[in-house]
Symmetry: C2
């Protein structure tokens, strides 16, 4: 069975050819900070044999075609878990015990509905699979109590179903990866403008199912704000939601499917608001004396309705690391804090907005660093997961986590999470942070953590993640701004939405998926 | 029992003192178009005796205080139905058979929770009551099968609970009427900026429960987009939703309560995003040769991200009527189509935006009419419901209805609804329309209909409403953009969200309100 060029090995991110070796400079920095401790990964971890009854496999083949029901080890291996550091650690250790029993590739909505009906009849768990980039355990469905686990791979559903250039909408199938969707839209001079770090691999269906937010969210919005209509296949029937751009016809049920992580239904099409491809793109760097001052400037822009297309701010530590000056971590103010303010659109609009924003930032104490920092950021914007692999190779534990809160609560959240991580992981731990999504009322915080790998890195990270999550909950913030719940965030999610919130999810689940075949164990506490 | 000065008589809108007599010019126009046929309303329609068991009333008095449990005829009369034309027609004919049996006035969240628990125990239907401005039958709950109907009047819950000037949020209780909320916020230099036509009477809780949209939605957003956090009392417990401005922590459950019209729970507090009071306000008039050209200009602005604070466009007929030139209705292009583009904010931002928008509008063929049309619109913006009363007084049936669709579907929807109304109501019917809420992907359409009242005006309007609603459904548009479902829209709402959508609502209802005491018969098909 040939492997889709977009498939990822379970223990590494992305395309091996694109990964390349770690640059000497980075290797030097890592050695300086943590020492080097080569930790080779198991090259070809084996998966347990598929345990699906051959008669069931025949039944599936009859439904959607024999060539779309795959049981070979390699295909199943490449559909095992997602891309969190614990996922990678397990795969590197050769543990792929929760591989799916078979991979099914429906071609359209009706195929999906047929597979769901079959799964209900035969009590098979169904795990929708898009890009496989989940970092919160959303692909690790419960096996117990099911006759088997199907990975429902949406890779064949990659059509651009409709373009409405008057209404500026496009209807996309869920299996399109980010670059594929953008390429199809670009043929019409259009784009979505959704660029999360996982962009190169993640899928349209995944963006919708996890309420993804991209690096240009200030200009183009979160994915959930782009979706104007969606179709889903549920075990009990079809859902078509969204009759107008906005409506007072009852609750907005689109917002119940967005973020549902495949537990209510499989999203088979989304109609998204699109934009014209930008004629001009310019990213400016700005230096701030402190993270607090940079954040205050972001707040001023957001509350004035004067946001650029991209806006992000690294704290002192992240700025120092990005400038390859690890010795400056902790020496506050040496490098200051780097902000990127990126502008995209028609030349006149970009010029006007860039000038207005520049005036505000300069007036608030920012220093214009020109375009070089922005170019550098653009070049590296999708590279971090490759770097993580390289660091895991030399015994450095790296992971990210993120949250969001109100502006007035930002310092409490930042300080609390940073302290929790440093305390749990001990001396030498590096905690970096940036703000990359801003709103009138608050913003996100995205932490990157690096620590010397201990004896049991899974337990080590679990303790750190727990400490950070407790700090997030203690600050009253959300457990995730753009990585979804999966299985890893369930403990805190229950607190966040309360007993009645959980009861709502369970009631909707029982109605749409009464036998519980869809992504069991994911999302719902 | 003294009557709250904001209470409205069941057969008329607003404050009798503010209503005033119909100006002679308007009276002349109406006579010209329809003839005058005096139709006096029953002055003091009687309500049926409250049928609540005295022991239940005592129980309620023990819970929230005897002075907050009212059963007098006048109080019950003023809580009967809402303000649709059918509501008014019934009240004018003296039919107030569905008056509540008692009016209870909880003072806080815990009072609401206590009343709900009592209602569950004794099988009482509970109808949340804010401003009483509903135009879709949302206050006309089912009586059958219940031991009585309580109007849960939120009039005592009028506090501004919190202001966060850093995050620019405010927490409001649901009983605050529009002007009361704005007055409390104005003490902090802040505002909500939510001005639906019902503004002077409608309440914060009602705005949230019906997904209200105000006349400044282009600048300040729909009410559902303002709410960042909400608290609700349900028969099975409390809901607190919204931990951050945006989140990927599962479905956005706030959007399930917004628009739920009191059937899932009673909203007891909302935290809304607020803005600074504008320093400058200027409303410009623009003339367009046709409705289509004006609408295309709105689309251009919306898709360029260049919207004013207020933008609305009257079609040829509405423009002619507003200019008091009814003879020009039908003679296309005589007066053209009036657009109002209103700008609010800091002087420099207003000047820049006004200039940029003016350039776009002039470039597309608009004619700048200066500030007079805007001043005139601002003066009359909340007066239409008073005018309707005056027209009902002289035998002219007047009602409004509204919808929304994608830009590419606008002409089909406009033509279809207009034709359906004209055909159903016959010769001499006047149908006016405007666009008052625009989005990148589409806009709203708001129709005003006037026809000579026939023998049975209720049946007459029911037929017209049915014809218009069928035309909306046939065009694939939403059955309401900002008036909610109530009881009047249920038939078409079921089609709009489909069988599975209805099933979701029923499942959530069964979970949160298992005995079905909350607003029975409303919203859920």
């Amino acid at each position: 069975m040939s492997v889709d060029s977009h498939e990822m090995h379970p223990s590494r991110w992305g395309d091996p050819a694109a990964a390349g070796p770690l640059p000497d400079s980075a290797r030097g920095l890592i050695e300086l900070a943590f020492g080097l401790d080569d930790r080779p990964a198991v090259e070809h971890p084996s998966v347990p044999p598929g345990r699906l009854d051959p008669r069931l496999l025949d039944g599936l083949r009859d439904l959607i075609g024999a060539e779309h029901v795959l049981t070979d080890d390699e295909t199943r291996r490449l559909r095992t878990r997602g891309k969190s550091t614990p996922d990678l650690l397990r795969a590197r250790a050769g543990e792929l015990d929760d591989a799916p029993d078979a991979v099914v590739r429906p071609g359209d909505h009706d195929d999906v509905a047929a597979v769901l009906a079959f799964a209900v009849e035969h009590d098979l768990a169904v795990v929708p699979f898009g890009g496989g980039t989940c970092v919160t355990g959303g692909l690790a469905a419960t096996r117990e109590g099911y006759a088997g686990v199907l990975s429902l791979d949406l890779v064949r559903m990659k059509r651009l179903l409709d373009v409405d250039e008057v209404s500026m909408t496009a209807t996309l199938e869920p299996g399109l990866r980010g670059p594929e969707a953008e390429a199809l839209l670009a043929e019409h001079g259009l784009m979505l403008g959704h660029f999360p770090q996982s962009f190169e691999y993640a899928s349209i269906g995944g963006f919708a199912a996890t309420r993804s937010s991209g690096q240009s969210s200030a200009g183009y919005g979160r994915f959930d704000s782009m979706v104007v209509r969606l179709t889903a296949a549920t075990p009990t029937g079809r859902l078509d939601l969204g009759a107008a751009p906005a409506s007072a016809a009852g609750p907005d049920l689109r917002q119940l499917l967005l973020g549902s992580e495949g537990v209510f239904g499989v999203i088979t099409a989304v109609t998204v608001r699109v934009r014209h491809l930008p004629e001009t793109t310019v990213y400016d760097g700005w230096r701030w004396p402190s993270f607090a001052e940079g954040a205050a400037a972001m707040r001023t822009l957001a509350q004035a309705g004067l946001l650029p297309t991209v806006i992000r701010l690294s704290d002192e530590a992240e700025t120092a690391i990005n400038l390859a000056r690890p010795d400056e971590i902790g020496s506050e103010g040496a490098a200051g804090c780097l902000m990127i303010a990126g502008h995209e659109g028609p030349p006149a609009a970009v010029a006007a907005r860039r000038s207005a924003i520049g005036a505000v930032l300069a007036g608030l104490g920012g220093t214009d660093l020109g375009e070089e920092p922005g170019r550098s950021w653009v070049e590296g914007r999708f590279r971090a997961p490759y770097l993580r692999d390289s660091m895991l190779d030399v015994g450095v534990l790296v992971e990210t986590l993120e949250t969001a809160t109100w502006w007035s609560n930002l310092d409490r959240l930042y300080t609390g999470v940073k302290a929790a991580l440093e305390q749990e992981l001990g001396e030498g731990t590096i905690v970096l942070c940036h703000i990359s999504h801003v709103y009138e009322t608050g913003c996100s915080l995205y932490f990157t953590v690096a620590a010397k790998e201990g004896e049991d890195p899974l337990a080590q990270w679990d303790a750190a993640k727990t400490a950070a999550s407790e700090a997030i909950a203690a600050a009253g913030a959300t457990i995730t701004h753009h990585h979804a719940i999966g299985t890893d965030h369930k403990r805190w999610y229950g607190q966040e939405i309360g007993d009645r919130g959980v009861a709502i999810l369970r009631a909707v689940k029982a109605e749409l998926d009464p036998t519980g075949i869809l992504n069991p164990g994911v999302l719902i506490p």
